[in-house]
């Protein structure tokens, strides 16, 4: 394989993993905009999506049904999380709420380990394992699924915020929560909606990535941290910024795993993120002022 072929491979791997980081970052941004808190359980939704889909296919459900049910189940988990861990703390300041999300992540991770054990599991690929040949190398078709579904979800989220009443109400909440309450927008409903949406995004990312990246119960933390970093790189508040940040992190990680060492890839991605933030502390996408 020539260097150019290798580079293409690494880029596709990086962009596809990066788009899943982007989905996590987008979810973190949505919850941050609605509530002002950082949900440190976000990566667990990725993990749960993958693990539940694997369990459902193991129970002989068709793959498509398993994918849809896994996303729905994780959305339910997020709604229960919101009800049991977030709503009782209504009126508390941001720090206790963030600590509550860390508690939730530990519970979800521990619970998943009790149910499924610590081993890595794998989901069958959506449309076969036969690589699509390009030049001297090949692309795993699952990578196209990852990129395609992630891009579709991001587009759907953008349309939701731009054109629907609920989407506009969520933006109003992000701009001015007190005024949003006074015009009659139920903040509780917006918070529920933000948890449901971001969990569905993360779960979809987890399900679609599991055929190529494997999944294990302890991996949620990595997705949380990388997704959080993606959201910060994007300027914390901009959904598209978070997606861009995620793709950047995925590419850096993949290139350094390919050309340097997989042992250092995550550290290198973190270092690059720090350099970017040093250069642009406001993030890649400048937020428009209200």
């Amino acid at each position: 394989m020539s260097l150019a072929d290798q580079l293409l491979q690494y880029l596709i791997t990086g962009v596809s993993v990066g788009m899943v980081y982007g989905l996590v970052g987008l979810g973190i941004t949505i919850i941050f905009n609605a509530t002002g808190i950082i949900n440190f359980a976000q990566g667990e939704f990725v993990m749960l999506g993958g693990m539940i889909a694997v369990a459902l296919t193991a129970a002989r459900l068709p793959l498509a049904a398993a994918v849809i049910l896994a996303v729905a189940a994780v959305t339910m988990v997020a709604l229960v999380t919101e009800r049991l861990a977030i709503r009782p703390l209504r009126g508390a300041s941001v720090i206790p709420l963030i600590i509550a999300t860390i508690g939730v992540s530990l519970i979800l991770q521990g619970g998943a380990k009790l149910v499924w054990g610590p081993e890595a599991v794998r989901l069958p690929a959506f449309s076969g394992e036969q690589p699509i040949r390009i030049g001297g190398g090949g692309i795993d078709p699952q990578r196209l699924w990852v990129m395609g579904l992630a891009a579709l979800s991001v587009a759907a989220v953008q349309l939701f915020f731009k054109y629907t009443l609920a989407g506009k109400a969520m933006r109003a909440c992000a701009i001015n929560r007190a005024a949003a309450r006074l015009v009659g927008i139920s903040i509780d409903r917006m918070v529920r909606l933000s948890f449901a949406m971001s969990a569905a995004l993360a779960a979809l990312g987890g399900v679609v990535l599991t055929p190529v990246a494997l999944m294990q119960c302890s991996q949620g933390t990595h997705y949380t941290l990388t997704g959080f970093l993606a959201a910060v790189l994007g300027g914390l508040g901009s959904g598209l910024g978070a997606v861009l940040g995620g793709i950047l992190l995925g590419i850096v990680e993949s290139l350094s795993a390919g050309f340097i060492s997989s042992g250092y890839s995550k550290a290198i991605a973190l270092a690059v993120a720090l350099v970017v933030l040093w250069w642009r502390p406001e993030g890649l996408v400048r937020r428009r002022q209200a």
Binding site: L165, K168, A169, I175, A178, L182, V183, G184, I185, S186
Partner: protein, 244 residues
């Protein structure tokens, strides 16, 4: 007939007792002015009515129903909407979206056609909002933003409109325009509770008024009575002893 009645409300704000036994009422179809200096507790009264600040004791009665402590979004559904101080429009959203969000709970219930009729009516009342329909609300002037804030509140089809310092930060021309619109709203049948620091402007359009000093009502009466009251003239209208 009074649409809103507060009886013996006490409330704390920032650890201090901000309201000490406040009673007032707003008659249907009238403008009731709530006057007083900065820090007298006027905004706290509005926040108690709107369910943002829970009172320590006392009752808020709206249309013969006890609404004390209900959440703001429930009160909007019941027909009681506040235009917050400083306008608080959603700057990054378009003027039209700001107005539609004012009707959020009605649209959520599926009241679509009536809402669009009201949108038309509000644009007739505030032509500037129709012209600026697709502009971002943050790009409007202060006076236009105040019109938008009032229009947004009207989109909830309120029976009682609470206006918190509508004149604050406005140039005299813009302020006069806003006050003319408030009078026009009364003609359309909306009951208004108007909180103002600009006492003379408020008394010119209001029917009745209350004067609040450090958390207590010190005066109440028709606007004519208040305008001719020695203390009001001296303390709020800038008249000298001789003129009084």
């Amino acid at each position: 007939m009074s649409l809103l009645r507060l009886s013996s409300i006490t409330a704390d704000y920032g650890g201090l007792q901000a309201l000490r036994g406040i009673s007032l009422h707003a008659n249907e179809g009238e403008i009731t002015a709530l006057l007083g200096a900065n820090g007298a507790g006027k905004s706290t009264i509005l926040n108690v009515i709107c369910g943002v600040v829970p009172p320590r004791s006392g009752q808020v009665i709206f249309d013969e129903e006890n609404i004390t402590g209900l959440a703001p979004e429930r009160l909007v559904q019941k027909g009681l909407t506040q235009v917050p101080e400083g306008r608080q429009v959603f700057g990054e959203l378009s003027v039209r979206d700001n107005l539609l969000l004012g009707a959020y709970s009605r649209l959520h219930r599926g009241d679509r056609s009536q809402v669009h009729q009201d949108l038309e009516e509000i644009c007739r009342l505030f032509p500037v909002l129709r012209e600026a329909s697709s502009r971002r609300a943050g790009t409007l002037s202060g006076g236009e933003q105040q019109m938008l804030a009032i229009g947004r509140a009207l989109m909830s089809a309120p029976r009682l409109l609470l206006l918190d310092e509508p004149s604050s930060g406005l140039a005299p021309m813009a302020m006069a325009e806003v006050f003319r619109k408030i009078e026009a709203l009364r003609e359309l049948g909306t009951t208004i509770l108007l909180v103002e620091q600009n006492v003379s402007a408020a008394l010119q359009i209001a029917d009745r008024g209350y004067v609040l000093e450090v958390g207590q009502m010190v005066l109440e009466g028709s606007c004519d009575e208040l305008l001719s009251n020695r203390d009001v003239r001296r303390a709020y209208l800038g008249k000298d002893y001789e003129e009084v």
